[in-house]
Symmetry: D2
Subunit: 235 residues, 4 copies
C-alpha cells in the first residue's frame, strides 16, 4: 500500500466526530497535523494524543482565516491536506427561523469553507500539489423540510466543491467532497447504535478510513464525490 503523498495537514472545525477521526488517521499516516477550531481548549486532549498543533479561528472571518494559514505555515509548514468540516443547522419552519441565524449558518457551512479553500489554493497552486477535503451531509443533495438553512449551506458547499475541483484539478490539486448520509456515532451526543442494530450509525473512524483512501488515489483516477452510509440505511 502506497504511503499518502502528503506531509502536513490542517483540519478546520474539530469536534469529537469526523474531524477528530480524520486527524488521528492523518497523524497515524505520519503527517504533521494542525487542529483549528473556535475554541481550542476542547482540542487539548486530541492534540496531545497525536502531537498536533492547535489554532484558534473564526472560520467565517476572512482575516482570521488568513491568519490561521500564516500561523500554520510557520508552525507545521504549508498544509498539503486541508479539511473543512464545520456546519450549522438553524432548524425550524422557514416562516419562523431567525434570519441572522440563517445568515450565520450559511456562513459557517459554506462561506468559511470558501475562505479555507482560498487560502489552501494559494499555497497549493504554486506547488501543483495538495488535497482539499470537504464534509457534506444528506442535506447536500436533498433539501429536507424545516431545515432550509442547513440545506442552503450544504448545497452551497457542494457547489464550491464542484467549481473548485474543476478549476484546481488540472493544477494538480485534489478536491474531494464527502456526503455523510446518516447519523454519525457520538458518545458525546448520545447517538449510539441501538442494541439490535449494530453499525447503524456511521462510525467516524470508518468514515476517516475512506477520507484517507481518497488521499491515496493516484491522479489518473480521482474521485470528486464519495457518499457513505450505514449498511442498514433505507435511503
Amino acid at each position: 500500500m502506497a504511503a499518502i503523498p502528503y506531509r502536513t495537514a490542517l483540519v478546520v472545525g474539530v469536534g469529537p466526530g469526523i474531524s477528530a477521526s480524520v486527524a488521528r488517521a492523518l497523524a497515524a499516516q505520519g503527517l504533521k497535523v494542525g487542529l483549528a477550531a473556535r475554541n481550542i481548549d476542547k482540542l487539548s486532549t486530541l492534540a496531545g494524543e497525536i502531537g498536533a498543533e492547535r489554532f484558534a479561528v473564526d472560520a467565517t472571518d476572512p482575516a482570521a482565516v488568513a491568519h490561521l494559514f500564516e500561523a500554520a505555515d510557520a508552525r507545521i509548514g504549508e498544509p498539503d491536506v486541508v479539511l473543512y468540516n464545520p456546519s450549522a443547522r438553524a432548524p425550524g419552519s422557514v416562516a419562523e427561523i431567525d434570519p441572522e441565524a440563517v445568515r450565520k449558518a450559511v456562513e459557517i457551512s459554506a462561506f468559511g469553507a470558501f475562505l479555507v479553500v482560498q487560502q489552501a489554493a494559494r499555497r497549493m497552486i504554486p506547488r501543483a500539489k495538495g488535497a482539499i477535503l470537504l464534509t457534506g451531509a444528506s442535506a447536500s443533495i436533498k433539501g429536507y423540510p424545516l431545515s432550509a438553512a442547513f440545506a442552503m449551506g450544504k448545497f452551497a458547499l457542494r457547489g464550491l466543491a464542484q467549481s473548485t475541483a474543476r478549476e484546481l484539478g488540472p493544477k494538480g490539486i485534489h478536491v474531494a467532497h464527502f456526503i455523510i448520509d446518516g447519523g454519525v456515532r457520538s458518545e458525546a451526543r448520545g447517538r449510539l447504535d441501538p442494541p439490535n442494530r449494530p453499525d447503524s450509525t456511521l462510525d467516524p473512524d470508518d468514515i476517516a478510513q475512506t477520507y484517507i483512501e481518497v488521499l491515496r488515489q493516484p491522479r489518473s483516477a480521482w474521485s470528486l464525490e464519495v457518499e457513505m452510509r450505514p449498511w442498514v440505511e433505507t435511503f
Copy 2:
C-alpha cells in the same frame, strides 16, 4: 384554459430580462403586480406599461425585506405569487476572488431569497395558498470553474427551494425552482442570437410562458423543478 388562481404578485429583482417578462405575463393574466429592486428608477417604464407598483429594497437586508412586504401588503395586497430573481457572480479564480464579493454574491443569490421566501410564507401559510418562484441557472446543478461564488449561491438557492417545497407544499403553497440552462437573450447586454442560429438564446418571454404555466398547475400535479434551454443547446 383555466385562469391563474392568484390576484397579486410581487417580483423581486427586476432587470430587463426574465423578471420583466414574468411581470408582464402576470399583468396580462390580470394580476396586480409589484416590482421590487434596489434602484426603482429603472422600473418606471415597465411599471407604467403594466400598471405596477414599485418598491425599493435591498433584498439582503432582513429589515428592508420585511418592510417591502408590509408596503406591498398596503399597496397591492398580500402577494399571492412571489418571484425571486436576483443573483451575483463574482467570477474569478478561487485563489483570487475578493472574499467580501463572495459573501455578498451568496447573500444576493441565496440569503435574499430566504428572506423573501420567509416573508411570503408568513403571509401564505394562514391562507393555505400561494406560489413562490425561484430562478436558478446552469450553475444550480453544476459548479463551473472560475465561478465558485455563483455556484455557491445558486446551489444554495436550490437547497432552499427543495426544503421549502417539502415544508410548504402540504400547507398549500407551491414552490417552484426554474433552471435556466443557457444564456438569456438581452438587447441591453448585447446577447442576441447569431444570424445563423435563431433562438439559440433563451427569449425571456418564452421563459415567462413556462413560469405562468407552472402557476396554472393543479395541486395534484405540481412541479418543483423545471429546466429550460434553447433547442440547439449541447448541454
Copy 3:
C-alpha cells in the same frame, strides 16, 4: 394562448390513465390522434369519444412498431407528436424474480420506447419538426428495493430521453421526459384520494395539462425534464 404547433399525434400504450388523458387533451387542441396498444378492444370507447384511430401493436417488436408507424402515416398522417407510455414492473426480491419477466419488463419500459423514438425520429428529422414525449416515474431517478426491473427500465428510458434530446433538439425535435413522482389516480385500480387528503394522488388530467404546455413551449426555452407530484407528497 398560442395553439399547439402540431396536427397529428400517436399515443403508444393507452390505458385508462395518463395516456388517455393526454390523448383527450391533444384531441381537444384539434390534433388528429392515433391510439396504439396491444389490445385495441379496450380503446374503442376512448377512440369513439375523441374521434381517434386505433392501432394494435406489440411495442417491443421492431417489425410491429415499424408497421404501426406505416399504418399511422396512412390513416392519420405522419405523427407530429409521439407519446410513449408503457412500462412494466416485475416486482420482487432480486434473488427471486423471474429473469424472463425482468427481460420483458425492461423491453416494455425502455426498448419499446427506443423503437418508437426511432420511427418517430425518421419521420421528424426530414421535416425538422416534432415532439417526443416519454413518461417516467419516481423510479426514473431512484432505484427502490424489491423493484429492480422497474428501476432498470425507467432509468434506461431516461438515458434514452437525454441522449435523443441532445441529438434531436438541434434538428428541431423536442424530446421531453416527465417524471410522475407519485401514484396516479385511477378508478379502475381503486387508487383514489383518501377523504381527508384531497388531491393526494396525481389526477391524470392534471398531468396531461403539463404535457400539453410542454408542447407549446417555444424552441428558445424547451424543457427536457419535468417532474410532477401531489402537493402533499413528502418526497
Copy 4:
C-alpha cells in the same frame, strides 16, 4: 490496514482493462479468483499470472449465468465478491441504429448484470455477507447524443445498483457502483496519454485500487456510488 474480509471473487467480463486490473488486485489481496468471459482463450495469460480459474459464459443467457455460478461454486467456492463489467455501445443516430444491436447492447450492459447480481444474491443472502461491484461510465449519469443504447444500458445498470443496494445492504451485502468518468488507458486499443498530458487517461490499476478500498469499507460507512476521473478532466 485491515485485510479484505473476503476469500473468493468472480470477475465477469474480463478484457484487458478494468476487470483484469481488479482481478490482479484481488489476487494480490489473497482472494481466489474466477474469471468469466465469452471467450476464455483470451484469459489464459491473466489466469496463469494470478492462478485464477476460467469460465466461459454468455452473460445475457439466464441458464448460462446459473451454470457459471454452479461451476464457480465447485471450482473456487461460492464467490464473496462479484464484479460485473461488460457493456456494449451500438453507437449511431437514433434514427439509424439497428434495433437488434440496441436490444443486445442493453442486455449486455444491464440484463446480464441483473442475472449475475441475482445469482450472487442467492448465495450471499444466506451468509449475510458479500460484495457486488458494478462498473458504470460517464453515460451512467448523462445520456450523450449518438449513444442512446449505451446510455440506456448504463442508466439501467445504475438503477439496478440502487435498487439492489437498498434491498441487499440491510442483508449484509455491499453493492457498489463505480462511475468511470473518462477514457481508460489501454495499450491494446491505442488509448494512451498524450506526451504532454500525463495521467490524462484512467489507469486501470488506479481504478482497481479504489474498487479494493471500497471492499475494505466497514459496514457502518459503505459507499454505494464512487466516481473517478483523471485530474485534468474538464467534466
